[in-house]
């Protein structure tokens, strides 16, 4: 939302008032602007100054108004002509010496300025590349207030900055993690490949130290490269959150691993702003929730909306905001409090009641959105020493990209992008099942108590497995492999309910 800065100077006792619902940072802007003007060699008018930030009913926050305030004062006191500011948007935090400091959300600001009909935007140098990603507005970066004034008076014009996002995206990503760093764990890698190929959410159960986090951290490397649209989308959220750290564009898929003490607002977003939460920062990337059972229930409950709709709507007293939140959820948990239940090599020291309680925490609506549940075992010494060629991320990614493009073609007509997004009603039409595959799923419902939802989840996963295998039909082996990834606690709850 663009804000107009109006300044009025008239005679009276020297004073400097800002109106228009400024927050503390904007109030303090008075002192920064006064010092910056004086230290840059301009006059600070010792008269009664009133600055109005319009629209007056919108709360203004942050130090980004400094530059606009300073320019408005210069124009009002006749040190520059008001015409020179016409059609320009200004944004930036001022240092006391008149230098310009970067602000958050530059790309969003540039976008808003363009939509408001501005033809130019001046902002701190550090933000220029990021803002220049927005087409249709001239973006110039300045180092200091003096530079800006010299540009406005025509003494020394600032150069327009351009940024080519396609080129940035095409730059190869050197170094970093790779799936081949993880020895063994072929079962887990296979499951992660399926999850990446179909956009499925996945839960890993295993003892501490089995390599769950290590595997999860490498999932972004096997996901398809970011498209330009996705990169810009993610950049916007990261820009608002101040996470860009000087980079103009997010070129890697984000990986977010919030600690299990994170609250519900921390996960989905909140605060006065409101500001985006972890689910939005993980946009188009991976959200990794380690120690899933340790998260507080409200935090896990809050994940339902983003998981289902791909957006979070947050309403606060001041404002409501909507952040995109499409991400792949990878969760990990110990099988019991000590972590060794079911471990062939170590004994579990937990009381059986504690184990049951631990496992019952991991139920409910969140698990309905998790298509694959796998066991991750501590690798044996033999597996660690195994020098057999491991699939590297690039090889897996190639297979994932191929499977995704098959899905995109099939799902184009119904507006979905990957198998995990298929609605229950669409499954029948989109999943062509072999006779015997159909039989396997029917058997599963009859014999091992597979629920209707479990059936649908298995069908989605089977579709992805078939896509990876390049098979247009789902065969029995695809269906049965999918069944092996199901949430096996379904049957147990069933027997409990019957008792």
């Amino acid at each position: 939302m663009p804000v107009a800065v109006e300044a009025d100077i008239h005679s009276g006792l020297p004073a400097f008032t800002i109106v228009g619902l400024p927050d503390a940072a904007v109030q303090e802007s008075r002192e920064r602007v006064r010092a910056a003007l004086v230290n840059s060699g301009f006059d600070f008018p010792l008269r009664r100054i009133t600055v109005n930030l319009a629209p007056a009913d919108l709360r203004k926050a942050g130090p980004g108004f400094d530059l606009g305030l300073a320019a408005a004062l210069l124009a009002a006191s006749g040190q520059i002509t008001p015409e020179s500011l016409a059609g320009r948007a200004l944004c930036g935090e001022l240092g006391l010496d008149g230098s310009l400091r970067p602000v958050r959300g530059a790309i969003v600001i540039a976008d808003a300025a363009r939509r408001a009909g501005c033809r130019g935007l001046v902002l701190p140098r550090d933000n220029e590349s990021e803002a220049a990603l927005v087409a249709g507005i001239d973006v110039t970066g300045a180092d200091s207030l003096t530079q800006l004034v010299r540009d406005l008076t025509g003494e020394a014009e600032l150069a327009r900055h351009d940024c080519d996002a396609t080129a940035l995206l095409a730059t190869p990503l050197g170094g970093g993690h790779d799936m081949s760093d993880v020895r063994g764990q072929h079962g887990a890698k296979r499951a992660l490949e399926i999850a990446a190929a179909g956009g499925h959410n996945l839960l890993m159960i295993g003892p501490p130290g089995a390599g769950k986090s290590m595997l999860a951290r490498r999932v972004p490397t096997i996901l398809p490269p970011l498209s330009l649209e996705e990169a810009l989308e993610t950049t916007r959220v990261h820009s608002v959150a101040g996470l860009l750290g000087g980079r103009p564009l997010v070129t890697r898929r984000p990986f977010r691993a919030p600690h299990h003490s994170t609250s519900a607002p921390g996960l989905v977003g909140g605060g006065r702003g409101p500001s985006p939460g972890e689910v939005s920062l993980a946009l188009n990337g991976v959200l990794f929730l380690d120690e899933l059972s340790e998260f507080v229930r409200p935090a896990l409950e809050a994940l339902r909306q983003p998981l289902e709709e791909g957006v979070v709507e947050i309403s606060r007293a001041q404002r409501a905001a909507s952040f995109p939140a499409r991400f792949m959820l990878i969760a990990a948990t110990n099988p019991c409090p000590c972590g060794h239940a079911g471990d062939a090599r170590r004994d579990c020291s937990c009381h059986p009641v504690a184990v049951a309680r631990h496992q019952s925490k991991l139920s409910g609506p969140l698990l309905d959105r998790i298509d694959l549940v796998i066991r991750v075992e501590m690798p044996t010494r033999g597996q660690l020493a195994d020098e057999k060629a491991e699939s590297d991320s690039l090889a897996i990614r190639t297979r994932v990209v191929r499977a995704r493009s098959v899905q995109a073609r099939r799902l184009a007509s119904c507006g979905r992008r990957c198998n995990a997004e298929m609605r229950a009603a669409q499954l029948r039409g989109l999943c062509d099942l072999d006779e015997s595959a159909l039989g396997a799923l029917a058997d599963a419902r009859e014999r091992i108590g597979l629920s209707m939802r479990g059936h649908d989840r298995a069908l989605r996963v089977a579709r992805t497995i078939a896509d990876l295998a390049g098979s247009p039909r789902i065969l029995r082996e695809h269906a049965t492999e999918a069944l092996s990834y199901r949430d096996h606690r379904g049957g147990r709850q069933l027997s409990g309910a019957a008792a």
Binding site: G184, Q185, H186, G187, A188, K189, R190, I205, G206, P335, C336, H340, A341, G342, D343, A344, R346, D347, C348, S349, H351, P352, V353, V355, A356, Q359, V373, I374, R375, E377, T380, Q383, K388, E390, S391, A440, D443, A444, R447, I448, I465, R476, E477, H478, T480, E481, L483, S484, Y485, H488, R489, G491, R492, S495, G496, A498, A499
Partner: protein, 356 residues
Amino acid sequence: MSACDACLQRSALLAAAAGAIERVARRRSRLPALLALHDRDLVAALKIGHPDRSAAASVAAAATARGLTTTCAHAAEFPRKLDALPDRAAALFLRGDRSILDLLRAEPAAAVVGSRRASTYGLEVSRRLGRELAACGVPVVSGMAFGVDAAAHEGALDGGGPTVAVLACGADTAYPRGNLALYGRVARSGLVVSEMPPGFRPFRWCFPARNRIMAGLSSMTIVVEGAADSGSLITANFAAELGRDVGAVPGQVTSGLAAGPNGLLADGAHVVRDASDVLDVLFGPDGFRSRDRKHATPTLSAELQTLLDAVEKGEGTAEAIAGDPAAVPQVLSGLAELELLGLVRREAGGCYLRCS
């Protein structure tokens, strides 16, 4: 057939006197002698009042209301093996499949008992023993406690065979609470037994008292795991006093949990490595082989058979079985096939277990 009034009266008396017995029977050695007393002498020994005549009727009514059936020593269906106890349980309250009573009279049963906090090894062994014995039609008797007991019942249920849970509380109560689901399974396809009336909440003496019934019902008592002062040794003692066979599963000598069974082995108990060791004791060497297995496994393809063998050996994950990354999908798909055939089961931790 249901229990006679005199026997129900005895149950009511035991329940009413439970607190008094607890005080007198602090020393465990006094318990059998105390329980062997007739009603009149028991009342006198405990210095309590006689429960009134209507107690039997109200116990019977409560049993019916809670969906329990009863039997007693005077009924034809009563498991005669219990007669050997000096203080045989007078009335038994039952929930589940009463035809198992006939089986208990006709066939030898095996009690599988052990520690509540068992090791992975102990759980694995008792589950396997339970499964294999039950699959051979041998009733598996245990106490439905956590750990070894629960694993033995689960194994028996997985094996599709008979299992008997002897409880220290009323037979209508799932105790411990955490085994509610297991209680449901046993009540559906096995038999839950208690000598105490419905709704009864156990005192400490009730657990050794329950153990004497377990030992009494079984031709052989097998201790899987337990410390040197474990309750499962009480069961083994009862069995030895009755002249029944006692078996023990050998464990690591460094493990405290193996002290109980290893001690029994040192005293001459039968070594139990798997179900065939038990069958040899129950039916004599090679005695069982002439009989048919109750549940023949369907013929499997070579790959599925290999997988099944691997799971039987305790390899619970595709990772461990496959060895080769390329084989993982086939292994997973094969495990699911076995699961659909009802031959393996995926456990809460995510590992596969062999079942019937």
